[in-house]
């Protein structure tokens, strides 16, 4: 009896509600996806990016109805099992169900046709890059308890600064450096305002966003549009295939055939994880974010930690800004970040303020983004803008704490007074 109680820590009413919700999802899946299918119909998923790859994998051909039944059964089973016994990891539960739902949706949408799965996953990673960089900027500054809602503005300024310098100097690397430095500069302004003057952190971020939108659009319509060959034509970083690794089927084309900024993003994810959790610096950062007073008592310079973390975050966001121009289209357009900075903040929260989580949730957002585009190509009868709402709705659900939990650093957003 006692063991039973220990194994099911979740209150049973909530458990039953979640279980019923899962059963309903299973039911909805069968109601929505099954009626449109025919027996013997198949869905084909391409697993090669190009036909010239070293190791060619056969296309994955799935029988539509059977696969749908299996996926619905998995969801129903998870729901029933959760009600009866309880699944302790809400993340795993949510992950499996979400996977089943997306898989069912994809199979249903591609029924009788074919879809390049690898192409879609590749573009997911590419689309996730600016989101992940914004999220990482958020992680590192919020771990030191400084909320930075001005990431959007930082990226916008960095995007413009990097494309202009790259065009003028004819060197993408100089452009990239200037982009990163401009990010650091704006972040330093934010840090100065919120640490020295104790300006409300969200207000300062909002001001940076407005200021950045104004400045970049002002300069763009004053100069960039008139001399676009000279100032707004940088070219982009080429795609670098990593020898050997890029030959691995499936993983190779997704992760090892990208441009410099995508690689840098992945490196930053790993480095930030190591720094935050396995170095004294990371321990101090987290201490400053959780309990600055205690950290101060132990001789950690709270202000210095916050300044450095926010500025490093600004450099990462600057890299994200450079991605929009140097890594993607090679030119600046007004308000081209289109809310990616805010989505990055959502990815940070979704990823529970840690680098790997932020990266994973950025991938989910990127996947949703590329799914939306693919659905338009496949002419799915669901409007793409409705699909486009999904990431935002998922973020809001995550914030409620019903699935997974979002616990910010304890001192997040509060100024520190000695």
């Amino acid at each position: 009896m006692a063991a039973e109680n220990l194994s099911t820590k979740i209150p049973s009413r909530k458990r039953i509600a979640t279980g019923i919700a899962l059963l309903v999802i299973g039911l909805l899946m069968s109601v929505f996806f099954l009626p449109g299918t025919e027996t013997g119909q198949t869905a084909t998923f391409g697993l090669n990016l190009s036909s010239s790859a070293a190791i060619l994998l056969p296309d994955m051909t799935l029988p539509v109805q059977t696969s749908l039944y299996v996926l619905v059964l998995i969801v129903v089973f998870m729901g029933a099992y959760h009600m009866a016994r309880g699944i302790r990891s809400p993340g795993a539960l949510f992950g499996v169900v979400a996977f089943c739902f997306v898989a069912a949706f994809l199979i249903w949408a591609t029924r009788g046709r074919s879809l390049s799965l690898i192409g879609m996953l590749t573009s997911s990673l590419v689309r996730a890059t600016p989101i992940a960089l914004a999220a990482l900027c958020g992680v590192i500054s919020e771990r030191a308890a400084v909320v930075n809602i001005g990431i959007e503005g930082i990226m916008l300024i960095a995007a413009e600064a990097s494309v202009v310098t790259a065009s003028l100097s004819d060197s993408l690397y100089i452009g990239l450096m200037v982009g990163i430095l401009s990010g650091a500069l704006i972040a330093a302004l934010h840090a100065w305002l919120v640490i020295r003057f104790k300006v409300d952190q969200i207000v300062s971020g909002v001001a940076i966003n407005i200021f950045a939108t104004g400045t970049t659009s002002f300069l763009s319509s004053k100069y960039l549009q008139h001399q676009s060959d000279l100032l707004n034509n940088s070219g982009t970083f080429p795609i670098i295939s990593i020898p050997l690794l890029s030959k691995i089927p499936i993983i190779g084309p997704i992760f090892f055939e990208n441009n410099l900024i995508v690689y840098l993003m992945m490196i930053i994810v790993i480095v930030m994880h190591i720094v935050l959790y396995y170095t004294p610096w990371g321990l101090r950062t987290r201490a400053v974010g959780e309990h600055p007073k205690a950290a101060d008592t132990l001789g950690i310079n709270v202000y210095l930690m916050r300044y450095v973390n926010v500025i490093v975050g600004g450099m990462i966001a600057g890299l994200g800004g450079a991605y929009f121009t140097l890594g993607s289209v090679g030119r600046f357009d007004e308000v081209m970040t289109a809310g990616k900075g805010f989505i990055g903040l959502a990815a940070m929260i979704f990823g529970n303020w840690n680098p790997l989580g932020a990266f994973t949730s950025s991938l989910i957002f990127g996947f949703a983004d590329s799914l939306q585009v693919k659905m338009q190509i496949l002419k799915v009868p669901i409007p793409s803008s409705i699909l486009g709402m999904a990431p935002y709705i998922v973020t809001m659900i995550v914030l409620t704490g019903l699935v997974g939990q979002a616990i910010p650093p304890a001192a997040d957003g509060q100024p520190y007074e000695k």
């Binding site: 409300d200 207000v203 909002v206 104004g214 903040l345 409705i386 997040d412």
Partner: protein, 419 residues
């Protein structure tokens, strides 16, 4: 550091002999100086990007004094166009009045007051949206979602405006206004409820609601609410749902402005003269204290976010019913963030919000003129706005620039993500 802080502390100690009018003028000091500094810095940007100034600098060694007239000319042309484009010229107005009184011909007068009425038209949605954000601030809530609520309100009132046919105006117009308020209220209530029930932070949720509103409107404007025709816009609203205009056609000045002033007064009355308003301010000042005193913090969160959303929805409604008469994509561009600036500048007081909305109306509508006359992109206004917010939020900078000693009580606006 510590010595400096000590002097700041003694400066900010409230003086016991401080009387009310002195406090009033002091509370105006920082916003006014912030706007002034913002305009000066904007002028520097204008001068720095001006061709004439650049030419004068090129000629610096030959004629070092020549740069000052060049700078003066650049800034005066720009700001002259700005204020001419937003306020009109007094000479033309007097001339128009003279003609009107002698011959009864209004054409000249209408032409002369056109710029000023356009500023009031621009200010109208700002008043509503600024009130929305200000109300949130008073309860310690940061409503970044005014943009989405504005859009939903516009769509709501447009829907009521074009779908009901044959109603008399005294039924249709209030219904259409109500439609906007309800749509905005729903959009604000969701984050409010999530905050009250689950503690989910309203800043992120209102941003998410903004994006959901954009996607939803993309779908509505290309699908269910699309007018017959090529462009993704709603049908034009019925005549009976329009907010009546005061003057013949090119002048768009309408009853929306009067409604906005009325609502501003209502918000003032609600916040400062009712028990509920007191509760809201108490929760904003100190949620723990308010809870201890027996007030329901969570109920106030939901209530304030709903009302705030309704106000932002009214902003959208006033724009649709009074000015545009239909809704297209990108309708809400920028109102959300501008309204935050407004609320901060107006210190979350309805009167302050109205005054700053008038200022923003003047700047925004004059900037269009400045763009065509002086070739300065309209985005200069956003630069000035961003600077003004920074200065208002950090009065210490203003005090440092102008070497003034003000006793300011800093108000807490938000509290991190989690709480």
């Amino acid at each position: 550091m510590s010595a400096k802080e000590k002097t700041e502390k003694t400066e900010t100690r409230p003086k016991s002999e401080k009387n009310r009018s002195q406090a009033f003028w002091q509370s105006l000091l920082v916003p006014v100086l912030a706007v002034f500094t913002g305009l000066v810095l904007g002028g520097i940007v204008i001068a720095a990007t001006d061709k004439g100034v650049a030419a004068a600098f090129g000629n610096f060694s030959a004629n070092p004094v020549g740069i000052f007239p060049a700078i003066w000319k650049a800034v005066a042309t720009a700001y002259g166009a700005l204020f001419y484009g937003s306020l009109g010229s007094p000479r033309e107005i007097i001339e128009g009045l003279r003609v009107y009184r002698s011959s009864g011909d209004m054409a000249l007068l209408l032409k002369a007051i056109y710029p000023f009425t356009e500023s009031l038209v621009t200010a109208t949605p700002y008043i509503f949206a600024g009130l929305a954000v200000a109300l949130g601030f008073r309860c310690g809530l940061f409503n970044i979602g005014a943009e989405g609520q504005f859009f939903m309100g516009a769509l709501g009132s447009a829907f009521v405006g074009y779908s009901l046919i044959g109603l008399p105006w005294f039924i249709h117009l209030p219904l259409a206004i109500l439609g906007g308020a309800v749509a905005g209220a729903v959009w604000g209530a969701i984050p409010g409820y999530l905050k009250a029930k689950f503690g989910a932070h309203e800043v992120v949720n209102t941003i998410m609601m903004n994006w959901i509103a954009f996607r939803l409107s993309d779908w509505l404007l290309t699908g269910p609410m699309k007018a017959s025709g090529f462009r993704p816009v709603t049908p034009t609203i019925q005549r009976a749902a329009e907010l009546p205009r005061f003057f013949p056609d090119p002048l768009r000045f309408n009853w929306g402005f009067i409604l906005a002033l009325l609502v501003a007064w209502l918000v003032y009355w609600f916040l400062f003269k009712t028990t509920l308003g007191f509760e809201i301010r108490a929760v904003g000042a100190n949620p723990d204290g308010a809870k201890y005193a027996g007030m329901s913090v969570t109920r106030n969160f939901v209530l304030v976010m709903t009302l705030s959303g309704a106000l932002a929805g009214l902003a959208g409604a006033s724009q649709v019913l009074g000015v545009d008469h239909w809704v297209g994509q990108g309708f809400s561009a920028g109102y959300g963030f501008d309204s935050i600036a407004l609320a901060l500048l107006g210190k979350s007081h309805p009167l302050g919000v109205v005054l700053s909305a008038l200022l923003f109306g003047v700047l925004r509508s004059g900037a269009t003129r400045m763009q065509s006359l002086a070739g300065i992109p309209i985005d200069i206004i956003s630069i000035i706005q961003g600077l003004v917010i920074i200065f208002v939020a950090a009065p210490a900078i203003i005090r440092w620039i102008f070497r003034i000693r003000v006793s300011e009580q800093e108000t807490v606006l938000t509290r991190g993500w989690g709480k």
